[in-house]
């Protein structure tokens, strides 16, 4: 099975990556997200629930390991902030 980036999907639970703790579900999910997996895709790849992967992604964002595309500059209100009107990532 191949991952979204075309690379061979090795047993992801043993991967390292940006987070230490090889074998932990937390590290595995974050590592897969670093390869371009969505949390849901990482869940399918690892055989865990999507809800768990989403929770890992959310906590990883809180810990500063993951960024959300919609919060790059700290605000995301194209209507309220004039300069954000043409931002490609604002919602």
């Amino acid at each position: 099975m191949r991952g979204p980036d075309g690379a061979a999907a090795a047993p992801a639970r043993r991967e390292g990556g940006p987070v230490s703790g090889a074998g932990s579900v937390f590290g595995s999910v974050v590592a897969l997200m670093g390869r371009g997996f969505t949390p849901a895709a990482a869940a399918r790849e690892l055989g865990v629930s999507a809800d768990l992967a989403e929770a890992v992604a959310a906590e990883a964002e809180r810990l500063g390991l993951v960024v959300s595309s919609g919060s790059a500059c700290g605000t995301c209100t194209p209507g309220a902030k004039i300069a954000c009107a043409s931002c490609p990532l604002s919602r």
Partner: protein, 645 residues
């Protein structure tokens, strides 16, 4: 169970929550936001509740009295939090309350539709060695989605009472009261967690603790949730193509080219029509009204040549911006734009640049000012500095307006492709700038990858899309409108003040005005680019204030007042004639040089001010000077080589 009247509690003593009434045990509701805690709290305590501010904060905390079997308890509804590692004042209140330790029982409210996230908080609560009873909400929703947890199994795994509740219908509330009253005398604690204390030195980092706790959450979820569907979805298949290193960038380039083609082909006639409407019927009516009131000549000149010219410039860009925003909003809502950051991350790291710089750079293609704020995602100061110096090389939407006018003027059949080429040049400049910095002043940086939470693909909702486009257009009109209007009014004033020739104010040829004389002094510097004309020089000088004002300044300088034809068309014809003359018969090369110069010569004043605030005057001045010199050299090279081909 009948609801009890709330009583006034004493003033909060500290720790973030109100002190309990003596002899009444305290029970706290702990849980993620939006799990139904407040609904449950209302159902348990009745409609009359006491709300106090946590000490030293403006965070409201609700307290009430709850009858648990034969015991009255003080029930506290803590602010929702996703983690006991607080990231906001609300979360800090909840964290302090849990850490305070003076609570009989914690009722952990778990959301059955997002069990893992709730269990993570429960795990942190358990590490505090807190007595716990679990209330599971949203079980009906979870069952409808096929996610219904086995509540009985959950209780066996956790080793504490687990009750399914529904705050709206009242289901399970009696069972919850019974569980809590029993726990007050025989407290239960979650079992199965790793043997570690809350301050275990071996797991001193939040990251390590999260890894251990999520492994525990996974084991619990495996026991209580049905197996999930592991088949690849359409999103997975699409990502296999769009995120691959070979297809990702070409596909993105194709998408961007298509967007420019669409907007230029569709927007051009609309832009001409709108500016023609303002410069035609509206200007005629305004002129007639001024004649009717017999206003002074300078007022007519100011209103028609200044204010109306500014309005025309703003109005004419609305169709273009609306189409661009619709394309951007659609791509963003579909989930595709976030993928671009992943694709670019891989490409950047392959040349030694940090992938995390992609987000602020992408934001920069909208506007450079918030892009500078976005550099805060980078953890190290030098990385933020590098990204902040590269941001002005990203071509913002304000510059797009200039490219479009010039591309329509000189390349009417290939305007979209030419504009796309300028954006490619912008990317090349960013990469070149990054490589230059990495090999000189930023050699010590270690590039790391960007880890971004990608959303699933989805079809954009038309109504949401429409609202997004509308709010963006309104914001653009407000920002660009005020900038352009201010600029053209200021330019009109400068054009009205005579600098030579003995003319009177407001009755002076443009070439003899302050505006004209200063611009004529600057123009010879543009000769190597084939652009030695005071009107082009004037528009570039104005562009330092704001790029949106460049086109308005050009129109102002040409003083287009022929209202029998579309103002935009007449402007394009005059610019074409001017550049053909200044370039010695090579307008194509000169127009490309002009667009490249506009791309890189100077950030706008707002960007410069933000850079200075973030990085200091020395770096800002150095980067601006380097950028100007680079833009001058590139534009000169393009013209000198292009005019000889």
């Amino acid at each position: 169970m009948s609801a009890q009247h709330c009583h006034d509690g004493p003033a909060p003593a500290g720790g973030g929550v109100p002190a309990e009434t003596p002899s009444m045990p305290r029970v706290m509701l702990v849980g993620n936001p939006n799990v139904g805690k407040s609904t449950l709290f209302n159902a348990l305590t009745g409609a009359r509740q006491h709300v106090v501010n946590a000490p030293g904060t403006t965070i409201a905390v609700a307290e009430g009295t709850w009858r648990c079997g034969t015991t009255d308890v003080s029930l506290v509804d803590l602010p929702g939090t996703y983690s006991l590692i607080a990231r906001s004042p609300d979360e800090q209140v909840a964290t302090n309350a849990v850490a305070g330790g003076d609570c009989g029982v914690h009722v952990a409210v778990l959301d059955a539709t997002a069990l893992s996230r709730s269990l993570y908080l429960l795990a942190q609560l358990a590490l505090e060695d807190a007595p716990v009873v679990v209330a599971v909400t949203m079980t009906d929703l979870a069952k409808a989605r096929g996610l219904g947890p086995d509540v009985g199994a959950l209780g066996r795994v956790l080793g504490v009472p687990v009750v399914a509740v529904n705050g709206r219908s009242g289901a399970g509330l009696d069972a919850l009261a019974l569980a809590v009253s029993r726990s007050l005398t025989r407290p239960a604690r979650v079992r199965g967690l790793p043997e570690l204390a809350a301050d275990d030195a071996a797991l001193s980092t939040e990251l390590e603790r999260a890894q251990v706790l999520f492994d525990w959450v996974e084991r619990v979820v495996d026991e209580v949730l049905p197996a999930s569907d592991a088949r690849p979805t359409f999103s997975d298949t699409l990502d296999r193509v769009l995120l691959s290193p070979w297809a990702g960038i070409p596909v993105f380039a194709l998408v961007v080219w298509a967007v420019f083609q669409l907007t230029t082909v569709v927007a051009t006639p609309l832009m001409d029509a709108m500016s023609g409407f303002v410069d035609g019927p509206v200007a005629s009516v305004a002129g007639w009204l001024l004649e009717a009131v017999s206003g002074p000549a300078w007022l007519e000149s100011f209103l028609l040549g200044g204010v109306l010219a500014g309005i025309s410039a703003v109005v004419s860009f609305i169709p273009l911006m609306a189409l661009m925003f619709a394309a951007i909003s659609g791509l963003e809502a579909s989930g595709y734009l976030a993928r671009v950051a992943v694709v670019a991350d891989k490409a950047l790291r392959s040349i030694g640049l940090d992938g995390r710089a992609m987000l602020p750079l992408i934001v920069g293609f909208g506007c450079n000012v918030p892009a500078l704020s976005a550099t805060s995602v980078l953890p190290h100061a030098r990385q933020r500095l590098l990204a902040g110096m590269l941001v002005p090389l990203t071509s913002c939407t304000a510059r797009l307006a200039v490219y479009l006018v010039l591309a329509q003027t000189f390349f009417p059949h290939n305007a979209g492709t030419v504009v796309f080429g300028i954006y490619v040049a912008s990317v090349v400049l960013v990469v070149a700038g990054g490589l230059l910095a990495r090999t000189t002043v930023m050699r010590d940086l270690t590039p790391q990858s960007l880890v971004i939470a990608l959303p699933d693909y989805q079809w954009p909702h038309l109504r949401t899309l429409g609202r997004s486009v509308w709010s963006r257009v309104v914001s653009f009109v407000r920002k660009a409108g005020s900038v352009i209007l201010l600029a053209v009014v200021a330019l009109w004033v400068l054009q009205a003040i005579p600098a030579r020739g003995g003319h009177s104010v407001a009755d002076v040829p443009v070439e003899d005005s302050v505006y004209g004389v200063v611009s004529q002094g600057v123009a010879p510097a543009l000769a190597p680019m084939g652009l030695d004309d005071w009107r082009i020089a004037a528009s570039l000088v104005t562009g330092v204030a704001a790029k949106e004002a460049v086109v308005g300044a050009l129109a102002q300088a040409y003083a287009v007042d022929d209202t029998t034809d579309s103002g935009a068309v007449a402007l394009r014809e005059q610019v074409r004639a001017t550049v053909a003359e200044t370039s010695g018969g090579h307008p194509t090369a000169a127009s490309l040089a002009l667009m490249l110069f506009v791309l890189a010569y100077m950030p706008c004043l707002a960007t410069l001010a933000e850079q200075r605030r973030l990085y200091g005057g020395r770096w800002t001045a150095g980067a601006a000077a380097t950028s100007f010199a680079g833009a001058y050299l590139i534009a000169t090279l393009v013209f000198q080589v292009g005019s000889r081909l």
